[in-house]
């Protein structure tokens, strides 16, 4: 990700259908360094997961964030959920790093957008 290439923030996805895991969270004030390390490691791991299609993520100065990770199938989502290192970090997240979180799993039916000028 780079401020000089805004397109790097967007996921390049195949045509729908595919699956979205929508994760909203409010960070606690605890353990910023540990959180940042774990977050970077999770991005590295999820990118290696079979069936991972892409992700978009943003967190603001108040610590509220939304991450949407896209997968090709329910099977791929399940495999990621059951990944041992991910499960351990997720448990820490629930107990320490997040004041609250919500996760929603959805099937994307249609998509549109693109750079300015390319919109339908």
């Amino acid at each position: 990700m780079s401020a000089h290439d805004p397109s790097a923030r967007f996921a390049d996805l195949p045509p729908p259908p595919y699956f979205a895991v929508i994760f909203s969270s409010q960070r606690s004030a605890e353990d910023e360094a540990g959180y940042a390390r774990a977050a970077d490691r999770m991005v590295e791991l999820v990118r290696q997961q079979p069936g991972f299609l892409g992700m978009e993520s943003v967190r603001d100065g108040e610590g509220f964030g939304i991450t949407v990770a896209y997968f090709d199938s329910e099977q791929s989502i399940r495999a990621w959920r059951e990944h041992a290192e991910h499960a351990a970090v997720r448990d820490l997240g629930h107990r320490r790093w997040y004041r609250r979180f919500e996760q929603r799993v959805a099937i994307v039916q249609r998509a549109y957008g693109g750079p300015r000028g390319a919109a339908p």
Copy 2:
């Protein structure tokens, strides 16, 4: 929304299924005042839409943002898309306020989360 009540950032939703409109965008550097006014007005309008269930929204210091709006049905999403004032503002958004955006419409199948301690 208030920094003193982080839960105000989360949508309180009924049990799935329901629909999600996932909107990712990179702001241009143009017209911050006009954009902010329009964004506030759109939040006010969408909250009055029949079938609107809630929304979560975040934008960071680099101007990248994700907003997820939840609706009870495809019909409600269509009515919101065809709302005249929304359509006019959306057109301005595509031409002026966003360098790029992506929109994905999805059916949420399952959801979990909650304040810390309440997680399954």
